[in-house]
């Protein structure tokens, strides 16, 4: 479980996340909406532990451990992983080597087989992110997460820049990573299959396309560093599409007040 309590974060001297509360239970996937510059990426980077995002107050707990001041790699070791919106280029390091690193340098790890699943075999001997197109970067990030197999997976706009054909691939891979595939032939009832899910997800999206492939338990809207939430992400998407973020957030806030939040 991921628990965030009254989190305030500064970036370059500016308060960019204000009084954030959030709870992602095992098996849950949340969708994060919000206009450009509202702080979505910042929230993910803060959870991942990037030190330039300075936590000025509040706490982050993961699996019951206070990770607020934990280095990035220790969070990764605890099972937090992320697909980055704009990952850096690392010259001379091959994607193949990075995938191995993600798997904890497992000797018997079949990089090619994993790469085949995201249609990425031809890229394995390219330098990490060097000259990759927008859609290729997404698939490279997914490939790394597949090798890493963390318990909490954060995806920063996994569908932006991805063409229609690859969108289906990306969607299915994310569903697979989050253990959301339903196996109709399994002896276990579907209800039980759902209850046995342990993976947690936090997905940033502007378009909501990803929701055609996965089921999300909650949707949240980040607006100017403030988080507000309702139960159903589809409602939020509809609301944003119809009346825009500003109106939408106001309406949600009123709703929440009426419901005693």
């Amino acid at each position: 479980m991921l628990v965030i309590e009254d989190l305030q974060v500064e970036l370059a001297g500016k308060l960019i996340l204000k009084h954030i509360d959030m709870e992602i239970k095992p098996g849950e996937t949340h969708i994060l909406f919000g206009p450009n510059g509202s702080g979505k990426t910042s929230l993910l980077m803060t959870i991942m532990g990037y030190p330039q995002y300075k936590v000025v107050s509040g706490k982050i707990y993961f699996k019951g451990v206070d990770i607020t001041n934990m280095p990035i790699n220790e969070r990764a070791k605890m099972g937090i992983g992320m697909s980055f919106q704009r990952p850096p280029t690392i010259r001379g390091l091959k994607i193949r080597q990075l995938v191995k690193i993600c798997s904890g340098n497992g000797e018997n790890m079949d990089v090619e087989a994993l790469a085949r699943a995201v249609n990425f075999v031809d890229f394995l001997d390219r330098d990490v992110n060097d000259g990759l197109s927008g859609g290729e970067i997404k698939r490279s990030e997914l490939l790394q997460l597949m090798a890493q197999n963390p318990d909490l997976m954060m995806f920063d706009e996994p569908e932006s820049g991805v063409d229609l054909e690859n969108m289906e691939l990306v969607g299915k891979i994310i569903a697979h990573l989050l253990e959301q595939e339903i196996h109709p032939k399994s002896t276990k009832p579907i209800r039980l299959q759902k209850r046995e899910r342990r993976k947690m997800g936090l997905i940033i999206t502007h378009t909501g396309h990803i929701m055609n492939y996965i089921t999300a338990s909650k949707g949240q809207v980040l607006y100017d560093g403030v988080l507000s939430c309702v139960e159903n992400p589809r409602e939020i998407l509809k609301c944003i599409a119809n009346i825009g973020y500003e109106e939408c957030v106001r309406c949600i806030l009123e709703n929440n007040l009426r419901n005693g939040h």
Partner: protein, 408 residues
């Protein structure tokens, strides 16, 4: 007067001539003589003490000669082993060649002027030995030929002269290492190398240096590449040295000739490296590339590169990247010189530190900070060298792995 006498005469006039660049070394402080070493058979070579074999291995020399087509091994002032396993390839000690073969005079001091500076002069006046490696027309090396200059005597000034000839349509791969014994603390090494790549021949020359901390090193080389020929020159030096200065020139003297230089340097504290390459493109279709990677670990590195385009329809690129890890200086001096219309020349130089963002990214994948840094450094040093045989690629990778321990 025999041509050798003329060389000696010119050299005598240059014994005090300072080099154009680099610290001036007082050569009078070094011994020029050492007892001639005892020649070693194949078996004796394999039976060298473990510690010596390891030193040689770090310079790319495999005493078992398993994946090597031939070996030249010089210790101090003389040859200890010289053999060749492959037909069509000749490996001859230079002094033998000077005595026995007339053709050597078409090559000896043909590209490097004997009176260039006091170092070339010393190599003529107090020549110890060196090698001649020649691939006969049409012959191709299956395994690389290895050559090693080993310095065991302390305070020695080793003077060697090498001639490398790839005859028409031949393919020749050479790995050469220079190393010093653990007992050697100080000394000087002067190495003249002249490369001749003839029509449609291909020559790759990979040099790995492992010097001692108080060594001054002054290689003086030049190359000439004829029509359709390819010269691939790799230089790796990741160990401390007092000073190292070289600026070899390659002349492309026929259409479609190609030269590519790759240099990897790690500069330790107290070391000064002044290393560059110059390529002159004289004919249409000439291509040249100079790529260097320099890491300063507290030392001083001057990375030079000079491309000279004298014909239309030539292409040349210079890429020089430096990484300052633990202090030190990296000074990149890229030069482009176009003399006619229709040249296409470019350069790219960058000196900096490891980007935090790259370290964090790898940490998010589970590496700790030191592992992430090491991974990025290894990537930085990992240049793709097209056309290099796998055994030589492996030797370069090994040298880089080895240096990791020193860099971190």
């Amino acid at each position: 007067m025999h041509i050798r006498e003329q060389f000696k005469e010119r050299a005598l006039k240059a014994v005090d001539k300072k080099a154009a660049i680099g610290e001036d070394i007082d050569l009078s402080q070094y011994d020029k003589e050492a007892p001639p070493p005892k020649p070693l058979t194949d078996e004796e070579l394999c039976a060298l003490p473990q510690i010596e074999r390891e030193l040689l291995a770090m310079a790319g020399i495999d005493v078992t000669e398993k994946e090597r087509g031939g070996t030249f091994f010089q210790k101090n002032v003389g040859v200890v082993h010289c053999d060749v396993k492959q037909e069509g390839i000749e490996v001859i000690p230079l002094k033998v060649a000077l005595e026995k073969y007339d053709w050597i005079w078409d090559y000896y001091w043909k590209l490097v002027p004997v009176d260039a500076d006091k170092y070339t002069a010393a190599a003529e006046l107090e020549l110890h030995d060196g090698y001649v490696i020649r691939a006969l027309p049409g012959s191709k090396t299956i395994y690389p030929i290895q050559a090693c200059m080993f310095m065991e005597k302390d305070n020695l000034q080793q003077n060697v002269h090498n001639i490398i000839i790839a005859e028409e349509d031949s393919e020749l791969h050479i790995i050469t290492g220079c190393a010093t014994a653990h007992t050697t603390k100080r000394g000087a090494h002067i190495g003249i190398s002249e490369f001749f790549v003839k029509k449609n021949a291909k020559l790759s020359f990979t040099m790995i240096h492992n010097w001692a901390e108080n060594m001054h090193v002054r290689p003086r080389s030049a190359a000439q590449v004829e029509e359709g020929g390819l010269f691939l020159n790799n230089y790796i030096c990741m160990k401390p040295v007092k000073s190292l200065q070289m600026y070899p020139t390659t002349h492309l003297v026929g259409p479609d000739a190609v030269a590519r230089f790759y240099t990897i340097l790690v500069g330790s504290p107290g070391s000064i490296y002044d290393v560059g390459g110059r390529i002159v493109l004289n004919y249409p279709g000439n291509r040249a590339e100079i790529v260097s990677r320099a890491i300063s670990n507290g030392g001083t590195i001057i990375a030079r590169g000079h491309l000279i385009g004298k014909s239309p329809d030539i292409k040349a690129h210079l890429e020089c990247r430096g990484l300052i890890l633990n202090g030190g200086i990296i000074h990149a001096i890229p030069e482009l010189e176009g003399h006619v219309d229709g040249v296409e020349m470019s350069h790219e130089a960058a000196v900096g530190k490891i980007a935090q963002e790259e370290i964090f990214y790898l940490m998010a994948r589970g590496l700790n900070e030191d592992e992430a840094t090491a991974t990025i450094v290894r990537g930085f040093l990992n240049v793709d060298i097209p056309g290099l045989p796998p055994q030589l690629k492996a030797e370069i990778d090994k040298a880089i792995e080895e240096s990791d321990k020193d860099v971190m």
